[in-house]
Amino acid sequence: MFKEQNDDENYNEEDIETVIGDSVNLEGDFSSQGSISINGSVNGKVSTEKNIDVGSEAEVKGELNGNNIVVAGRVEGNIKAEKLEIKENGVVEGDLNVKVLSIIEGAKFSGQSTMSKGGEKEIPVKETKKEEDIPERE
């Protein structure tokens, strides 16, 4: 949505309808019909039929449900999406249910991943060992 941001190259800026800035803490379940950009902290479930962008400074404790999800910050919770990309500094602790998964080198993921195709039975394809020590974010 904002021009200077590089994290969300995959998104059409026009799609973003909700922005949670880095000075804001959100508590509770949040759903939107449009795309959501998170740069602050969220404690609760976030749902949309469109896209979710978790910025590099963002911290989410709760489930994420969306179409395309990009995580450059930290997420502690399960993620359900058509497509998930965990960026190089992104941290995800939780189980994934996605159709397309992309984990960039340097990213940290701890949990189970279930990859499914549209209309077909979900097939668990990978189980990762829980990382014992995920470094704290600065």
Binding site: F2, E17, T18, V19, G21, D22, S23, V24, E27, F30
Partner: protein
């Protein structure tokens, strides 16, 4: 029938030429109708009450600034009558700018005469209706609190927002706007955030814009939409409702969809 409400300040001699120009133009356009002047003896409440009691009255036009416009809109909305509101600005007016009513008085009168109507939502904060936005400044300029902020590097108080949709947010910044219809100032902030396509006074939603200390970069600002919210803070903060300032520590906001007919010009901002 058109009913014109002249602001109290219009009595000053420097506005007499402008008023004469407006009267002549309105008469020429055949919409001179009735006019009343606000004064100490005739407050705006009384004038609008009289106008609202007249069944012939279908348009109320404020001649003045944002304050008289905001007061008029509040009273029209409370009355529940289907009356169109318009403004002829005598001073710089954010509301006139939003409605596309130019400073050129002849052109402005022409726009009033054309009576192009746009039905828009109205916001309400506690018992007060507002058309444009409610600005919250934690450290209003030229006040003691702004001096304290500079000298003691005082932090902004924490403000709690409780949204009807079931979530809450907590923020600690200096500026907030609850927008129904954006003013030019709001549009500037909105454009910096590239969210102008989302701000619409006919979508049945209020837009909450939270800007950190004057900046509106992507990471620093927040933008959320809601139908209803409440705001609470420990200390009283100044809010500005279309030129009317007051201090509050708790307030409730609500949007009333498609609630007011406006007479708008070609260059309206929505």
């Amino acid at each position: 029938m058109y009913f014109y409400i002249c602001d109290n300040f219009a009595k000053k001699s420097k506005y007499s030429k402008k008023l004469e120009q407006i009267s002549l133009k309105l008469a020429k356009l055949g919409i001179g109708d009735e006019r009343a002047q606000i004064s100490l003896l005739r407050p705006i409440e009384e004038i609008i009450r009289e106008a609202l009691m007249d069944k012939r009255c279908t348009n109320i036009v404020a001649i003045g600034d944002d304050k008289v416009a905001t007061q008029s809109i509040d009273m029209i909305a409370h009355s529940g009558r289907k009356i169109a509101f318009g403004i002829i600005p005598l001073k710089p007016s954010k509301i006139a700018e939003s409605l596309g009513m130019p400073n050129d008085l002849d052109v402005c009168c022409q726009e009033i005469s054309s009576r192009k109507i746009a039905r828009v939502d109205l916001g309400k904060v506690d018992d007060y209706y507002f058309l444009t936005s409610v600005g919250i400044k934690v450290f209003p300029e030229n006040t003691l609190s702004s001096v304290f902020k500079k000298v003691f590097r005082k932090k902004s108080p924490i403000i709690n927002f409780d949204f009807l949709e079931g979530y809450k947010i907590q923020a600690q910044v200096e500026e907030y706007s609850i927008i129904n219809m954006p003013t030019a100032d709001d549009m500037k902030k909105i454009k910096e955030g590239n969210i102008e396509s989302r701000v619409n006074p006919r979508d049945g939603l209020l837009d909450v814009l939270i800007c950190e200390n004057g900046t509106n970069s992507r990471k620093k600002s927040s933008f959320l939409q809601t139908r209803k919210l409440s705001i609470e803070t420990k200390s009283k903060i100044e809010i500005n409702i279309g030129g009317i300032k007051m201090k509050k520590s708790a307030m409730k906001f609500k949007v009333y969809p498609k609630y007011l007919d406006l007479i708008v010009g070609k260059n309206r901002l929505f």
